[in-house]
Amino acid sequence: MNDTTETLSVDTADMPPDPTLTAAPTAMKNARETPEEAGPGVIETKNMDVFYGDFKAVADVSMNFAFNEISALIGPSGCGKSTVLRSLNRMNDLIPTARTDGEVLYHGANIYAPGVDPVEIRRRIGMVFQKPNPFPKSIFDNIAWGAKINGFKGSKADMKDLVEGALRQAALWDEVKDKLNESGLSLSGGQQQRLCIARAVATQPDVILMDEPCSALDPIATLRIEELMLELKENYSIIIVTHNMQQAARVSDRTAFFNVELDTKGQRTGYLVEFSPTDQLFTSPKEKATEDYITGRFG
C-alpha cells in the first residue's frame, strides 16, 4: 500500500504512473459515463479506520458523498478531517506508516482493493492543497505537464485547447491568456491556487478534494475560490476540509462535523459526529456536540 515515499506536497499531476500496479477496475473506467450504475454516491466510506502505525487517527467513518455536491468537513484540530480527506484518494499511502481499514468505494469500487492503481485513483480524484504549490514552470506547462504524465497523446493544438479549457474552468484564463509563458510563481496567491485547481481539472477527474484551499488567501481571493467551487460543482463533486465554518456554511451542500475523543490509552481519535445538509446543520444541528462547536462553546 505504501507505494512511494514522496512527500505530501504533491498532487495528481505530480506523480508518475506506476507500471507495476494494474489498471483500475472496469467499474471505475467507465465511471463518468455511468455514475448511476455505480452506487448511491460518488465516494462512499464504510467503517473506515485510519491508523498511523499503532495510533488510530480516525475511527469508524461511514459517509456517502453525493455526486455534484460540495461536501465540507469541519471540526477541531486533531479530529482527523484531513486524514479522512487524504484517505479518499489514497494520498495517505505516501505516509509510510499509514494504514486504512474498512472500505472506500469510488463509483462502488473499493479503491483499497488489491490491484488498484493509486496513481489512477489520484488522477480521477484530484487534490488541491492549503498552500498554492504551482511547479516552478510556465503557466502553460503547469497544466500541460500533468496531462502529459497522465498519458495525454493529442497534438500541440489539442494541448493548447486542453490548457485553455482547464484555465477557463478555473476562472483564470482571462487573467493569464497573454502571459502563458510566464512562471506560475509570478501569479498572486489566489491566482496560483486557481492555477492548481486548473492543473487538477486538466487530468479530467470527477472528484476534487480540497484541503484548506483558502487558508493562505485574503478574503477577496477566498470569495473567488468559493465562487469557482460553486461553478465547478456542475461538473465535479467537491470535498473540502476547512477551518472556516462560514466558508462551509457559504459553499457546501452538506457538512460533516468531526470531533475528537481520548481513549483509555490517552490517544486522541477522531470520529464523525454528524453529516447533515448544511442549512440544517447551521440552523438546527442534530447533535449537541455540533451545536457547541459551531456556536463557539467548544471546550
Binding site: M245, Q246, A249, F282, T283, S284, P285, K288, T290, E291, I294, T295, G296, R297, F298, G299
Partner: protein
C-alpha cells in the same frame, strides 16, 4: 424538534469561551422581557381606563407606549448589530431571528393598547353598562392573561409555548365574540358611536392575544427549531387601528 433537546442551548447560562457574546444574548432577552412587561402593564392600564372610563389614563398609556417604542429601537439595533458582527448559527441564530420577530409582536401589541384608549377618548369615555362593562373587563383580563403567559414563556424559554398559548387564546376569542354580540344587541342604549368603538376595542384585545400566541411560536422555534405549522392564526395585515 425533539422533546429532549437542551432547553438552555439557545441562551447558555454558563460562562464559557464566548462570554461576551453570551452576555449580549442575555441582554437582548432581558430587553425583550422588559419591553413585554411594559406592554403588559400598559394593556392592563388601558383596560382600567376603559372599564372605569378614566380619560386621565389616556395620556399615561401614550407616554408608556413611547417608552416601548424607544426600547424597540434600541433592542432592534443591538439585535441587528449582533447578527452582523457575530455571524451566529444554530441556537444563537434561531434566538436572534426570533428576537427580531418578537420585537415586532411586542411593538404592535403596545400600539394596540394605545389604540384602545384612543377609542375611549374619541367617544369621551365609555358608559357603565350592566352587561357590557363586565364583559369588557373579562375580555381585558383574558387578553392580559394570555399576554402574560407569552412573556413568561419568553423569559423561561418554554419549549412548547406555541401550542400552550394557542390553546389559551381560545378563551380570549370566546370573550371577545360575546362582547361583540352583547354590544350589538345593546347598541341603541349606548349609542352607535360607542358601540362601534367598543367592537373595535374587542378586536384590539383579541389581536393583542394573537401577538402573544406568535411570541409563543417564536419561543418554540428558538428552543426546538420547530416552525409554526398550519393554522398560524395571526397575520400582520389583520391588525386594526
Amino acid at each position: 424538534m425533539t422533546a429532549d433537546r437542551d432547553v438552555t442551548a439557545a441562551v447558555p447560562e454558563r460562562e464559557g469561551t464566548r462570554q461576551h457574546f453570551d452576555e449580549t444574548l442575555e441582554q437582548i432577552k432581558q430587553d425583550l422581557v422588559t419591553m413585554g412587561s411594559l406592554v403588559l402593564e400598559n394593556v392592563r392600564r388601558a383596560g382600567d381606563a376603559m372599564v372605569e372610563s378614566r380619560l386621565d389614563l389616556v395620556e399615561v398609556v401614550r407616554e408608556v407606549d413611547d417608552q416601548v417604542d424607544q426600547l424597540y429601537l434600541e433592542a432592534e439595533k443591538l439585535t441587528f448589530e449582533t447578527l452582523a458582527r457575530q455571524q451566529p448559527v444554530a441556537g444563537d441564530l434561531r434566538f436572534l431571528v426570533a428576537a427580531t420577530r418578537i420585537l415586532y409582536e411586542l411593538e404592535r401589541s403596545g400600539d394596540l393598547a394605545y389604540n384602545c384608549v384612543k377609542m375611549l377618548a374619541r367617544v369621551d369615555g365609555f358608559p357603565q353598562h350592566p352587561l357590557i362593562t363586565p364583559l369588557l373587563e373579562a375580555s381585558v383580563t383574558a387578553s392580559c392573561k394570555v399576554f402574560a403567559q407569552g412573556i413568561d414563556a419568553l423569559a423561561d424559554l418554554v419549549p412548547d409555548a406555541g401550542a400552550k398559548l394557542d390553546a389559551a387564546d381560545d378563551e380570549v376569542d370566546h370573550m371577545v365574540s360575546e362582547l361583540f354580540t352583547v354590544v350589538g344587541r345593546h347598541s341603541f342604549e349606548v349609542g352607535l358611536e360607542v358601540a362601534i368603538a367598543l367592537s373595535r376595542v374587542g378586536r384590539f384585545l383579541e389581536r393583542i392575544a394573537d401577538h402573544a400566541v406568535n411570541i409563543g411560536e417564536h419561543v418554540t422555534y428558538t428552543v426546538t427549531a420547530a416552525l409554526p405549522g398550519e393554522g398560524h392564526n395571526a397575520t400582520a395585515d389583520e391588525d386594526g387601528g
